[in-house]
Structure formats: structure tokens, C-alpha cells
């Protein structure tokens, strides 16, 4: 997941590894969703090995990007029960994007420190731009 995060997260996002670890700690909770993440990550991993002869984590940035696009995860619409592309989009790409942009870490990059889905208190909306 961290390797994929390096592709789908912007350059400006720092501390990706600990951010993703923290998110996965809560997410890999033995639920059906956790299973879905594991299965989709395994599919990305196996595609990397058969198409690029290397685990995702060892691919250079450009090849990681290519891999995700060849899997179709860029144009696919997310679907937890769909094709590989749709499941990778749902469980991997969008789970990572959701984690980032529904948190102040990602929100601040866009200019919203209290984004939807984050309980950032009922004062930030009253404040002007920093």
C-alpha cells in the first residue's frame, strides 16, 4: 500500500509511510473490507511480478504508475464487487485517497484543514483564510 501511495499521493505529502501505516492499523481490522484490501493488493502485487518481474515496492516510480494504469485503476469507477480494475480502484487507490483527503494532512494541501469525513471541530468554518 505504501508503494502505491507514493504514486497516488502528491509530491507535497510528507511522512507517507507512517501516514499509511496509521491508516491501515485502523483499516485492517479483520473485517470484510480488510479482506478486500488484502485481495486487491495481492492482485496488484502479482501483476507487478508477472509484468515487471519485481514486487511493487521495488518498482521505480514511473513503472508503478504504468502498472496501475495498465491494471485500469485510473479510468475504472470504484466497485467493491467489480472487475480487478474496479476493485483495485475501490480498495487500493480510493482507500488511499480517502485516507489522505479526508484528513487534515491531505485537506491542508488543498486548503481545507477540516475536510468532510474528519471531525475537525465546529470552529474552523468561522475562520478566514490563514
Amino acid at each position: 500500500m505504501t508503494a502505491v501511495a507514493r504514486t497516488v499521493y502528491p509530491e507535497a505529502a510528507s511522512g507517507i509511510e507512517s501516514f499509511v501505516d496509521g491508516f491501515l492499523d485502523g483499516r485492517l481490522d479483520g473485517s470484510a473490507h480488510a479482506e478486500g484490501i488484502r485481495a486487491a493488493v495481492a492482485e496488484v502485487e502479482s501483476a507487478a511480478r508477472s509484468w515487471y518481474d519485481a514486487p511493487v515496492a521495488e518498482l521505480p516510480a514511473a513503472e508503478r504508475d504504468d502498472l496501475l494504469r495498465e491494471l485500469g485503476a485510473d479510468t475504472a469507477e470504484e466497485n467493491p464487487h467489480g472487475t480487478t480494475a474496479e476493485r483495485v480502484r475501490y480498495y487500493v487507490v480510493n482507500d488511499l485517497l480517502l485516507a489522505l483527503y479526508a484528513s487534515p494532512t491531505g485537506g491542508e494541501l488543498v486548503g481545507i484543514e477540516n475536510p468532510q469525513g474528519y471531525a475537525g471541530g465546529a470552529e474552523s468554518y468561522t475562520r478566514g483564510p490563514p
Binding site: T7, V8, Y9, P10, E11, A12, G26, R27, D29, S31, A32, H33, A34, G36, D65, L68, D74, T75, E77, E78, N79, P80, H81, Y90, V93, N94, D95, L97, L98, L100, Y101, A102, G106, G107, L109, V110, G111, I112, N114, P115, Q116, G117, Y118, A119, G120, G121, A122, E123, S124, Y125, T126, R127, G128, P129
Partner: protein
């Protein structure tokens, strides 16, 4: 958080609540009738829940709801459904499928399953929680404005109940609105502070001589009723994970603590009656395929503005061939909603939108200008204009830096205004039973024929003019206007069992008791003879409390 799909198997189209929507399906739940019940209430939305809570201390109360009891621990997963593009709005609370099938006929499409939730808590699980009192003139539209009927009750009759309803729901508000009807005491909680974008609007409005004021929210601005203050999740509509937004599970739980029995997934198929014009039982179906009959001394139908008339029509009998309580022929007629009027655009500066999912300022200045040709309307200053970055992020073809750039371009400087406009009651705008389509129990589904008249459409234009004027004064590039061609309903179903002192002109009397059946009341916006332009639920709550008092008096007399 276990993921959006943890509350069910994806989208609900197909099987409705039976899709195992993650609601507490509780197969070991006892859904058999309660012996010796005094009061049977159909529907566990705010109307039914408030009646139940108020009567449960002194009476044996049973509430039957067609939908499930949702597990409060699932709210974060439901919130994720609200954000993720895979899920439609109705999926958040498992609306849809055969249980909720319906037909549209007529010129105007009505998206019914976006406009309701079935289950314990009812549509307040999804609602936004804006709660205003109707204005005094709204109760006398015929006399004062020259259109529509007068209500058989006045603002003064409801005034103490409004105050109680505000305490029950927990309303944050202030007394700074010079256009609001008279009130006797402050709101139970202080109003939410105005937003940053309100402060931008304030300058423009001042220049134009337009007044802004606070707006009452059924949402905790401080801890209230053992519920959390708002923590800014920003997804109020359709789900508040913190419980800061009022929903009717509050009163359902309270009623249960007092001894009421609430049976979920108990879809009432019809009401039985005897030869003396009394309802005797509610016949309901449970998920195990059984059909039961709940008897009671008094019945309160609180199934929302569409299912309430439908249930009465489904209860037709030899004695009442046109449907129960339908001696007037008006059951299902006069279906109304509030029409949306809006406009928005962008500024060349940050506007700080989408931190919270509710608005904090409004303008009621033009409301009481209403007459024969202009409807009452109110204006709202949004805090959630433009796209939310997270929703944009999940649905593009890009990621990494290009995505961040798209988000920065798309988010940040939007502004928007909304507004609601009254529509007049029209007998041709109505809910009937569909001829050729049935639900999961084989009952004809509701058919909606929604029509909107010129007075409302002209008033939308008037609202748009003011909105555009304000936005232009603000220096905004106006990018969209939701005018008469782009308007839609606010999801407030009203009018379908109207209240009238005259049994030929309405379905219920001034006490919301049906003219035809002496032990049957209706607690719903379906009793509104006219709709005003204020969100209906505070009025529904006030009427429900009043219904409870009347039921109590009559049970005591008996």
C-alpha cells in the same frame, strides 16, 4: 472504520432493506403484537417517536416501523457511503428495491427514494436539521394572502408546542431574526456562529439593504441531552456520526426506556376497523413471512407524507370503498413540496466551504411580502458551495500531483445561496395507488403526480433575482442559477391528508384526528393545508406533541 460496504452488500437497488443492509436485522427479535396496548403508532420517524415518548409513561404504547433498526456503530461506514462515488444517496440508509418501489406520473419527476428513509429514526437519519417555525400568516393564507385554505388552527395554538418541540429536538438558535414569528423564550442552545463566508455575504447584503440573521439548527452547539456538540464532520446530510444532529432515535430510545415497544421491520399493510367507525388493529408483516395484528384503543398514523395516504388507501373496505378516513375523497390529494431556488459562482478569494454540512445565516425579509401572486420564500447562505475535495478526489482519472492540482483548482472560492419557495395545494398534485405495480408484499406502490403552479415558479424567479443581485454585489462570477427550469423538491412531503374543520374539505380535524374514525390520528406534514416555505419538521414535531396530548385526554375520558 471497517469500510462503506461493511453495512451491506453494496447498493440497495433490488431488495431494499432485505438486502441485509447491515441494519441490525435481529432474527431473534420478538415481533409479535403487544397484548392490551393502548396506543399503536405506525412509523418511527420524529412524528411517531415524539408521540410515543410523550404517551409512554402513562400508556402501553407500541410503535411499528416498516424499516430496520440501524446499528449506531455503523455510522462511520454509512458516512463513507455518503462520500464514496460507488454509492448513491439512497444506499446510505438502505432505501430502494421492491420495498420502496413507486411510480411517477405527470409532468414533474419526484425522486421519492432520495426524499425519505425507512427505519427507526425515519427520514431524520438523513435530514439536514434546519428547524424554523411557520409564520403567523402561513396559518391564514386564504384570509391574508388570498390563496389556499386557512388552517383550522392558528400560530397561537401551536406556539407553546413549538417551544416544547425546540426543547425536545434540541435547537440552537438566536433571537436576532426580526422577521421570525413571536417567541416567548430563547432557544435551548445558542446559535452557531456565522461562517467566514457569511461575513463576506454580510458586506454585500448591507450594501443592498438586505438583512441577514441566524438560523435555527436541530444540532448541538454545545452538549445537550447527553449528546455530543457538533464536531464538524461535514456530512450532516445524509449522516451525522457524532449524534450532534438530532434524529428521532433520540425519542425512540426514550420511549423504550419508559416502557414502549418498538417493532422494526414491521410493515403495516392495512388498518382494520369495526362497524362503529373505530380502528381495531394494524395488520403488519414481519421478515419471517408472518402477518400479525396489533390491536389498540387509539391509532396514530405517522408514516410520512407519502406512505400515510397510501396506507389509508390500502385499507379500503366494503364500508370505506375509497379508503379509510377518505369520506372527503381528499386522501392523497394536495401533495406539496418546497421548491428550491438557488444561485452560485466563484470569487477571486478563498471562501472556506465544506467544513460543516449546515448553514448558519438566512434571510426571511421577503417572506411576508407573499400575496396571491407571490409565494412566501426564504433565502439561505450556504457553507458548502462547490465541490468537496474528497468527493472530487475519488472520481477522477488522475492521481499524484495532477490530482492535487485539480483539487486546488476546483476547491476554494465557491459561494452559493439557496432558498425555499411555497407551492400552493392543488388537488391534481397527488399520491394514488399505482394500477400495475406492487411492492415486496404485493401491495400497489404509491404513484406520485407532482405538479407545480405558476405562483411558485414566478416566485423562484423573484428569489433568483435577489440571489444574483447579492452574488454580483459580492463580486462573484455567477456560474449557475437554479431557476424554474432547474428547480427540484426539498424532500418535504406535505398536504396529502389535509387538516380542515369541514369533514368534506379535509381528512383530519383541527386536532389531527380523522373525521371518519374517532380513534385514529395522523401525525405528519401530510396534515398541512398549506405549506409555507419553512422546513416542516419543527411544525411536524409541534403537531405530534399536540396529537399526543389529545390522545391522552381521550384515552383518559374513555
Amino acid at each position: 472504520m471497517s469500510g462503506a460496504e461493511s453495512v451491506g452488500d453494496g447498493r440497495s437497488s433490488g431488495a431494499g432493506s432485505d438486502a441485509g443492509d447491515g441494519a441490525d436485522s435481529g432474527d431473534d427479535v420478538d415481533r409479535t403484537p403487544v397484548p392490551d396496548a393502548d396506543v399503536c403508532i405506525v412509523g418511527a420517524g420524529p412524528a411517531g417517536a415524539l408521540v410515543a415518548d410523550r404517551l409512554a409513561d402513562d400508556h402501553e404504547v407500541v410503535v411499528l416501523d416498516a424499516g430496520p433498526r440501524f446499528d449506531p456503530r455503523d455510522r462511520l461506514a454509512r458516512q463513507e457511503r455518503a462520500i464514496r462515488p460507488f454509492y448513491d444517496r439512497p444506499d446510505v440508509w438502505g432505501v430502494g428495491g421492491a420495498r420502496d418501489a413507486h411510480e411517477n406520473a405527470g409532468d414533474w419527476f419526484y425522486p421519492l427514494n432520495h426524499a425519505r428513509v425507512k427505519g427507526v429514526g425515519g427520514s431524520t437519519l438523513h435530514w439536514q436539521g434546519m428547524v424554523m417555525r411557520l409564520h403567523e400568516d402561513d396559518f391564514n393564507s386564504g384570509t391574508v394572502r388570498g390563496v389556499g385554505p386557512d388552517w383550522p388552527i392558528d400560530y397561537a395554538d401551536l406556539r407553546p408546542y413549538y417551544a416544547e418541540a425546540e426543547r425536545e429536538l434540541g435547537v440552537a438558535g438566536a433571537s436576532d431574526n426580526p422577521y421570525a414569528p413571536p417567541r416567548e423564550e430563547p432557544h435551548p442552545m445558542p446559535a452557531f456562529e456565522p461562517s467566514y463566508s457569511d461575513s463576506l455575504f454580510a458586506e454585500a447584503c448591507e450594501a443592498l439593504g438586505i438583512d441577514m440573521h441566524s438560523v435555527p439548527n436541530a444540532r448541538n452547539s454545545e452538549p445537550y441531552d447527553e449528546r455530543s456538540p457538533c464536531v464538524g464532520y461535514g456530512t450532516c446530510q445524509p449522516v451525522c456520526p457524532s449524534g450532534a444532529k438530532y434524529d428521532a432515535t433520540v425519542h425512540v430510545e426514550r420511549a423504550e426506556e419508559k416502557g414502549a415497544t418498538v417493532i422494526d421491520r414491521a410493515s403495516v399493510q392495512s388498518l382494520d376497523h369495526d362497524d362503529e367507525d373505530r380502528v381495531t388493529a394494524a395488520a403488519y408483516a414481519t421478515p419471517d413471512g408472518a402477518e400479525h395484528r396489533q390491536g389498540a384503543e387509539a391509532f396514530v398514523v405517522a408514516a410520512g407524507g407519502v406512505e400515510t395516504p397510501r396506507l389509508l388507501l390500502l385499507s379500503a373496505s366494503d364500508r370505506y370503498p375509497e379508503g379509510l378516513a377518505n369520506g372527503s375523497g381528499h386522501v392523497g390529494e394536495f401533495f406539496m413540496d418546497h421548491l428550491f431556488a438557488g444561485a452560485g459562482g466563484t470569487l477571486d478569494e478563498p471562501t472556506r466551504q465544506n467544513h460543516v454540512g449546515f448553514y448558519t445565516s438566512a434571510c426571511d425579509q421577503f417572506y411576508d411580502e407573499a400575496d396571491e401572486t407571490q409565494a412566501p420564500f426564504k433565502l439561505e447562505f450556504f457553507n458548502y458551495a462547490g465541490p468537496s475535495p474528497i468527493e472530487m478526489a475519488l472520481s477522477g482519472d488522475d492521481w499524484g500531483d495532477p490530482l492535487l492540482e485539480r483539487l486546488r483548482d476546483g476547491y476554494g472560492n465557491h459561494v452559493a445561496m439557496g432558498g425555499l419557495v411555497e407551492q400552493l395545494p392543488d388537488a391534481e398534485s397527488r399520491v394514488t395507488l399505482a394500477d400495475d405495480r406492487t411492492d415486496d408484499h404485493g401491495n400497489p406502490v404509491p404513484q406520485i403526480e407532482w405538479t407545480v403552479g405558476d405562483r411558485a415558479l414566478d416566485t423562484i424567479e423573484r428569489a433568483n433575482e435577489i440571489q444574483v443581485e447579492i452574488l454580483e454585489e459580492l463580486g462573484a462570477d455567477v456560474e449557475w442559477v437554479a431557476g424554474p427550469d432547474a428547480t427540484g423538491p426539498a424532500y418535504h412531503h406535505m398536504g396529502t391528508t389535509r387538516m380542515s374543520a369541514d369533514p368534506d374539505a379535509g381528512v383530519v380535524d383541527a386536532d389531527c384526528r380523522t373525521h371518519d374514525l374517532e380513534n385514529c390520528w395522523i401525525a405528519s406534514s401530510s396534515v398541512f393545508p398549506t405549506s409555507g416555505a419553512m422546513n416542516p419538521t419543527l411544525t411536524i414535531a409541534a403537531l405530534a406533541l399536540r396529537v399526543a396530548d389529545d390522545v391522552d385526554v381521550r384515552l383518559s375520558e374513555a
